[in-house]
Chain length 204, copies 4
Amino acid sequence: MAKKGQGKYLAILDAAIKVIARHGYHRTRVSEIARKAGVADGTVYLYFNKKEDILISLFREMMESFVDGLKSELNNYSTFEEKLRYIINYHLETLSANRDRAMVTQIELRQCDADVGKKIFAPLSKYFQIIEEVIQYGKTTGEVRTEVDNRLARKIIFGSLDEVVTRWVMSQKDYSLSQLSDPLLVILMNGVSAPPQPSNRGLN
Amino acid sequence: MAKKGQGKYLAILDAAIKVIARHGYHRTRVSEIARKAGVADGTVYLYFNKKEDILISLFREMMESFVDGLKSELNNYSTFEEKLRYIINYHLETLSANRDRAMVTQIELRQCDADVGKKIFAPLSKYFQIIEEVIQYGKTTGEVRTEVDNRLARKIIFGSLDEVVTRWVMSQKDYSLSQLSDPLLVILMNGVSAPPQPSNRGLN
Amino acid sequence: MAKKGQGKYLAILDAAIKVIARHGYHRTRVSEIARKAGVADGTVYLYFNKKEDILISLFREMMESFVDGLKSELNNYSTFEEKLRYIINYHLETLSANRDRAMVTQIELRQCDADVGKKIFAPLSKYFQIIEEVIQYGKTTGEVRTEVDNRLARKIIFGSLDEVVTRWVMSQKDYSLSQLSDPLLVILMNGVSAPPQPSNRGLN
Amino acid sequence: MAKKGQGKYLAILDAAIKVIARHGYHRTRVSEIARKAGVADGTVYLYFNKKEDILISLFREMMESFVDGLKSELNNYSTFEEKLRYIINYHLETLSANRDRAMVTQIELRQCDADVGKKIFAPLSKYFQIIEEVIQYGKTTGEVRTEVDNRLARKIIFGSLDEVVTRWVMSQKDYSLSQLSDPLLVILMNGVSAPPQPSNRGLN
DNA sequence: TATGAATGAGGATTCATTCAT
DNA sequence: TATGAATGAATCCTCATTCAT
């Protein structure tokens, strides 16, 4: 039952994702995580100090691999639009690849106590930083208007992605997240408003 | 100690907001809500069936008054842009008016178990519907591109607002939410991208 | 099952005496005390904050009633010897009246952690004080040598009584403690040494 | 880290004395003893069957060396008074030489369960026997009144010494135990009472 | 309606002990 | 002999919920 690889530590994290996704963190008993990981209850405490630490480690591991994966590819793209498209694709595809993982990220990780919140913020803020850097890059290439506030734009981008994923996770339906990438990119780039009419003004 | 008005029911909800905002839902004891509301522990169960119901009622009450307030004013505006501006203003100002309330909405309400999630979705979806109707309205006035997917646009609008509020609630800093209304509107309307260069100017 | 009188508080203490005497404090489960007291597990925590507090309260209650009973009678005696005899009788009879109680006092109460030790010392020291006052009184009546150190004499008196009770508690045999009162008094008063021989010196 | 000498067995006992003196037996984890002894947790179980056995062995070793040391010297004294003085000195000096050791003897060793109590009694009773033999010897030399009950006198002597040491161990103050030897001897020999007044002096 | 003492199921955590190496 | 990772039984305490008053 226990996973190989880096051993019981990963086995416990893997089990935690599944169990927490199903029941929610607070309804999850440590003993159930242990059972699913194929270890004894006490073994969990050789790798984590408290139940809460499982959640925090879970998020840290996920965010780190998420951000690492994102960073490594991002340099392959040279325009802002390509970079943003990549972020959107990466975000949606990574999260839709594993619904359990997404569920933990979107729902469970927000509930926690203030302490947890802070510990979770650190890895998240690296992602924020990357987005803001891309926006800044867009300004240097002239693709992004200079009046745009980097931080606000980042909140809009991240907030949109996050909401899209949240609704997907909460929805029973099984639509594909990736199909939303292109329309999302278009709106983030151009907004929702129709371009000013080429105006038949001149015709009158 | 007990609030007047609609009596103990509201007193309990008021107390719940404060206590949950401070400690988080799961760390909040029913007895603490009761104490803060000035009623006996058992009295809480004359108005609510389970602890969970307090949270659900809390959200329903908040969303209903939120949506009612939004609806009643929205008709005063005749263009899509005005309507969207109003939604943004209303959302940010209503939530920044009471940090405790905002905290409960943004953080605590997401934690709950699947059941709770569903009960919470109903009032929220009314808000979603209003936003989508406004978008649809924008299409009829020609302000919104018809290719824009209503549901996706709604997710972007709501997701952006939600993220802006979430960062505000989590942030220690005390900046004003309202100041973000205008720049947010601009980006949602026009996106982040710079307009195509009139460019061939020099060619003429 | 629950005792009447001052209600559950006393019922729990009574149950605790019996259970702790049988199994020892550390082997005693709170749930067993609760069961014997005829209350629910949680009820114990309405009257005591921690398991440890049961032990402390137990000792405080016992020492207080012990000291109160001792004080009230002690004034009836006017010589040091009578007072000391009364202390000895009272100590031995009170403790032999309830073997469970004695067992808790003699054995279990000494084990505790430093914190407990300190909380237990306060009531005990009242008893020490009474003994020392009686010794001092003996000096004023000329019954006690003035070179005798009050504190040391108190330790000898208390230590002797304590050891006598400890051996009785630990012994399986069922001899009477009271029968030791008189010989104990004699030795404490006169020591073990034979008086100097009236010495047939004069006869030679 | 591991002590030399008889090897790990003694290292573990030494470590146990220190750790138990600091935290108390029940709060002491076997792993802490192992760490302090410089051995692995499992190694402890090559030398002791159960945690409890460490305590019992500890006491047995201490009592055996205590009794051996006492016996060997006791024959050097020929009067009861000298022998008793030696016992008192030896008891107080031996225990004050190592506060950790004393702490374990006085406090921790009393806590244990009935089973432990019995196993501990055997080595202790050798000490009791020696004291009683000395008392009996005092009767043969005429130094001790024959009415004195040997067992009771032993309890008084041991109880006094024990109480003196207990108060010293529990006290924060750092007074010398040895200084109590002489006054203790005087009271045990002669009691606390003043000699009968030669009184009829004035009549002559 | 209102109370709040009482309930008791539930679960995180500890730590003595084992055993494969 | 020695190790120390792994075990899992054991239990204190919390707190949502009930119900006699």
